[in-house]
């Protein structure tokens, strides 16, 4: 009995870990896709659609694997479209409304920086399926971080107006950054299995990367260390996620069991 129980809890932890990855990309992809046709310049319409597309592709991989690990016959679509809020495991930052273009691109940068550091470790995961996905998507993420960092620098060090807006975006979003580095039992299980790093161990590399870009952007990290949390554990999401799911899941909920 003990051995089976251990396996089950490991499997449960792995499932939760994969949901965290897949829900981040799903919800962020949803938010970014809201820009379609509304961006400040045609090149950004294209770039944002491309980012959203990559994120949805990553979602298919992470949630697909999550479904396999869970072993209850749920595929990526079932996980995306048929879970309710309390089962979502994305960080709070990705479910926040887009705000202006500056806020969207600042969030993208703060997320891409984490994502690129995380994937750098996951490529070496002891779980071959995780390592494979990380390898597959890391090229995309390298491109995302290059682009979002460039745009943050361009707008931070642009006009007075653009600088002001980027600083405001950073001030608003920064309290949501800490959630990406919190550790709990799920993470401890991933570490002991050799599947994933302790999130806290990514912080130094992340801080160096972010500090460099923000310096080029002439932006200042806000004071204060308060961290909003509750998304990746599912303990408490923001009010915004419910509205995301309402539109995302509507067809699947209204016409259950249909083929699309």
């Amino acid at each position: 009995m003990p051995e089976k129980a251990v396996n089950e809890s490991d499997q449960q932890a792995l499932f939760q870990f994969l949901l965290r990855l897949g829900d981040n990309t799903l919800v962020l992809g949803h938010r970014v896709s809201e820009w379609c046709g509304h961006a400040p310049v045609l090149e950004e319409d294209i770039a944002l659609a491309n980012t959203a597309l990559d994120l949805i592709g990553q979602t298919q991989l992470w949630l697909g694997l999550a479904g396999e690990v869970e072993g209850k016959g749920r595929d990526a679509d079932a996980l995306a479209f048929l879970r309710d809020i309390w089962d979502f495991r994305n960080i709070l930052m990705v479910e926040l409304p887009n705000g202006d273009f500056g806020q969207t691109i600042m969030r993208q940068f703060l997320y891409d920086a984490w994502s690129s550091v995380m994937l750098g470790r996951l490529i070496k995961s002891g779980n071959p399926a995780i390592a494979e996905i990380a390898g597959k998507v890391s090229k995309e993420v390298a491109y995302h971080i290059e682009r979002s960092a460039d745009t943050v620098v361009g707008l931070g060090d642009g006009t007075e107006e653009s600088h002001k807006r980027m600083q405001a975006a950073l001030n608003y979003l920064y309290p949501y950054v800490g959630e990406m580095f919190l550790s709990d039992d799920t993470d401890a299980a991933m570490v002991s299995a050799g599947f994933a790093p302790d999130p806290a161990s990514l912080r130094d590399e992340y801080d160096v990367l972010v500090a460099k870009v923000l310096a080029d952007a002439t932006l200042t990290l806000p004071d204060g260390s308060y961290t909003h949390k509750g998304g990746r554990t599912g303990a408490m999401h923001t009010e915004h996620l419910g509205h995301v799911l309402t539109s995302m899941q509507w067809l699947q909920r209204a016409y259950p069991g249909s083929q699309w």
């Binding site: 949630l63 060090d157 642009g158 083929q259």
Partner: protein
């Protein structure tokens, strides 16, 4: 089509005898299928007509993001969401190619955008219709992109080089657009009763607006002759419309949907389908700005442009700073 109300500047084609030497040499090139390139001499009216036609086409691609963008967050599966995103991304890319082609004629993308937002330039009437259920994503790809393809395939042979080459790139992507649309329609038409209802609703609602995409009837089209002579129009509106109906009716039947027009009947004598005329007064109203979506579409585009001004200014200012720093370092 995407530029369905283009008027050719300058009236009917000139007779050979009335042409200047330059004009005769120009027409001769066109007749011998030699492409006109940006640095070549061209009549002012040719240039003006092309700017309007390519500009309208570009605007249509850009505004065309909106009716499909309307369903991205509600796409029913991750795969459908990804395909729709890829398609809308393509359309924005088409806008980019076409603006670049127009710019070779001496206008800027910003000027063209200002003209659109000020109501001085048009875009295709079809994008003023709403997308109301998921089957619209199928119908738009299948019918709207399908109609666009019929117009754009011949335009690959149009006389102006940059426009023709933009069309070659665009046409490559358009067939994927039409295919994914038909694939959605197949799922919907062969799906549940509710899905079939969505499919039928989409076809009924979009049929006549799609027929209007080809522009007014030839008898009401002004200056088609000059555009045909200049090879910036290859087929007439009615020829393309007939071709579209002939290829689409069997597809509707294959899907098992009801025909959206009781006037559709095979005609043994002509070897073509007869069909009812769209309501042309509706068409001219939509062109004038009175369509169901004109106001909202332009509001959305104006908001994107106005709200984005600080972004464009910021990036430009940064690029200038960088260039200045580089210059300083070089000195």
């Amino acid at each position: 089509m995407y530029s369905q109300m283009e008027k050719t500047e300058g009236g009917d084609p000139k007779l050979q005898a009335d042409m200047t030497d330059k004009e005769r040499a120009f027409q001769d090139k066109i007749d011998r299928n030699i492409k006109i390139e940006p640095r070549d001499w061209m009549p002012d009216n040719y240039r003006a007509t092309l700017i309007r036609q390519i500009g309208q086409h570009a605007h249509s691609e850009v505004v065309g993001q909106l009716p499909e963008g309307n369903w991205i967050t509600r796409a029913p599966t991750l795969e459908r969401k990804a395909i729709l995103l890829a398609k809308v991304q393509d359309e924005a890319g088409h806008g980019l190619y076409l603006y670049a082609a127009a710019e070779t004629l001496g206008v800027t993308r910003d000027q063209l955008t200002e003209d659109l937002l000020a109501g001085r330039m048009k875009y295709s009437s079809i994008f003023n219709y709403p997308t109301l259920n998921w089957a619209d994503m199928g119908a738009v790809g299948w019918l709207v992109d399908g109609a666009a393809i019929l117009n754009q395939v011949p335009l690959q042979r149009t006389s102006y080089g940059p426009y023709a080459r933009a069309m070659v790139r665009i046409c490559k992507e358009e067939s994927f657009h039409a295919r994914q649309g038909f694939h959605i329609m197949m799922k919907m038409a062969k799906g549940s009763d509710a899905q079939r209802k969505m499919a039928q609703d989409a076809v009924n609602r979009l049929w006549f607006p799609v027929l209007m995409m080809f522009g007014p009837s030839d008898k009401d089209s002004v200056h088609t002759a000059q555009s045909l002579a200049w090879r910036i129009k290859i087929d007439t509106n009615d020829q393309l419309r007939q071709k579209f109906v002939d290829q689409t009716v069997p597809q509707i039947e294959y899907l098992g949907l009801d025909l959206p027009d009781p006037g559709i009947k095979w005609n043994d004598e002509t070897g073509q389908y007869d069909f009812s005329d769209p309501d042309w007064s509706e068409f001219f109203n939509v062109i004038k700005g009175n369509g169901p979506g004109n106001v909202d579409r332009m509001k959305a585009r104006r908001a994107a442009w106005d709200d984005g001004a600080w972004v464009r200014d910021g990036l430009l200012a940064h690029a200038r700073k960088k260039a200045a720093a580089k210059q300083l370092a070089a000195e």
